[in-house]
């Protein structure tokens, strides 16, 4: 089982290669979209790299729940509804949604996911050494 540090380092390598950023830009607090400049196709690239690097499967929508954010049932007037937020929390236990919940504009969602969230996500997939 890999350690937290090993998981972070592998993810950092994935992000450096997928996004063309420098290693020192990839900090745990960095947001993928805002700080590292990820675009939608980059998420697919990152998912492929994570799958290969950690030998895991990342089902579509698990890391970035675009299906919820584009579902009219869960989005009203550009904001995620309480039901939608509940779905997001269930789907993304690895992400901190508290700040987003206070003002859940869909357009701000892209700026929510951090490197640390991704580390937690991978930990939930592969387990982590104590």
């Amino acid at each position: 089982m890999p350690s937290k540090q090993e998981i972070f380092e592998k993810i950092r390598t994935c992000l450096v290669e997928a996004l063309g950023v420098d290693e020192d830009e990839v900090t745990p607090e960095a947001t993928l979209v805002g700080d590292l400049g990820a675009e939608s196709i980059d998420f697919l690239d990152i998912v492929f790299r994570l799958e290969k690097s950690f030998n895991i499967k990342v089902p579509r929508g698990e890391l970035f729940p675009e299906d919820i954010l584009t579902n009219s049932e869960y989005v009203r007037d550009g904001k995620v509804t309480p039901d939608g937020l509940k779905q997001l929390r269930e789907r993304m236990p690895f992400a901190d949604l508290d700040a987003f919940s206070a003002n859940p504009n869909v357009k701000d969602f892209g700026n929510l996911l951090t490197v640390q969230d991704m580390v937690r996500y991978v930990e939930s997939k592969v387990g982590v050494a104590a």
Binding site: E17, I41, L44, D45, F48, R60
Partner: protein, 215 residues
């Protein structure tokens, strides 16, 4: 001018890898501008050829049900210049493929020498208005036959690659009829107009649209 930057497939293994060749010739006009007195195959067009090799491989995997577009080049490196007389051999290998898209590793060789390498991402477009305008069935079907994919193709079970069932419908939609033997004939006169508009002489256009591309 058709935007086809590979000459033919020499190997096609469905869902896995494909190899195409591109002959670089002084008859290609762009070489005389790139550069005057020093003709070299533009690296951007080698990348296009690699992407076409990979793109057709990815498209065939879904039996051409998905619209495949080049979305991102994560990495591309060229090691030396390709010049007239060279035969470039493009090999594309599918690394990952899902319903969202695919990642392909591609290389370009001249003989045994590695000339270039690239990591290419393809995305599957949903079937919205924009996707429809981007893809003309005529060009697509014509290209597939022209390049001989179905002549050399092998399915993932090792059997011969067969034309996807949707091809006949696409062919009808595109106004292409099957010519005896192999190849297609372009029925409408508009095609000639288009070719003419892009700089070819009408005589050439007629020759290229009435002759079967392969004998």
């Amino acid at each position: 001018m058709r935007w086809i930057w590979i000459d033919k497939f020499i190997e096609f293994e469905s869902g896995k890898q494909a190899t195409a060749i591109k002959n670089v010739s002084l008859a290609e006009e762009h070489l005389h501008d790139h550069f005057p007195g020093y003709p070299v195959m533009p690296a951007s067009l080698i990348l296009e050829g690699l992407a076409q090799t990979g793109g057709l491989l990815v498209g065939e995997h879904s039996r051409f049900e998905e619209k495949v577009i080049l979305a991102k080049v994560s990495k591309v490196v060229f090691h030396f210049l390709a010049v007239p007389g060279d035969t470039l051999r493009y090999t594309a290998v599918i690394g990952s493929i899902t319903e969202g898209g695919a990642r392909v590793s591609a290389t370009s060789h001249v003989g045994d020498r590695l000339q270039g390498e690239a990591e290419i991402m393809f995305a599957h477009l949903d079937d919205t208005g924009r996707a429809k305008t981007l893809f003309e069935p005529k060009n697509f079907v014509f290209t597939m036959k022209l390049l001989g994919v179905f002549d050399v193709g092998r399915a993932s079970d090792g059997g011969k690659l067969i034309e996807p069932p949707g091809l006949a419908a696409l062919r009808a939609e595109a106004g292409l009829e099957r010519v005896q033997g192999s190849g297609f004939r372009v029925q409408d006169a508009q095609a000639e107009q288009r070719v003419q508009g892009s700089g070819f002489r009408v005589q050439d256009a007629q020759a290229s649209t009435t002759d079967p591309p392969r004998s």
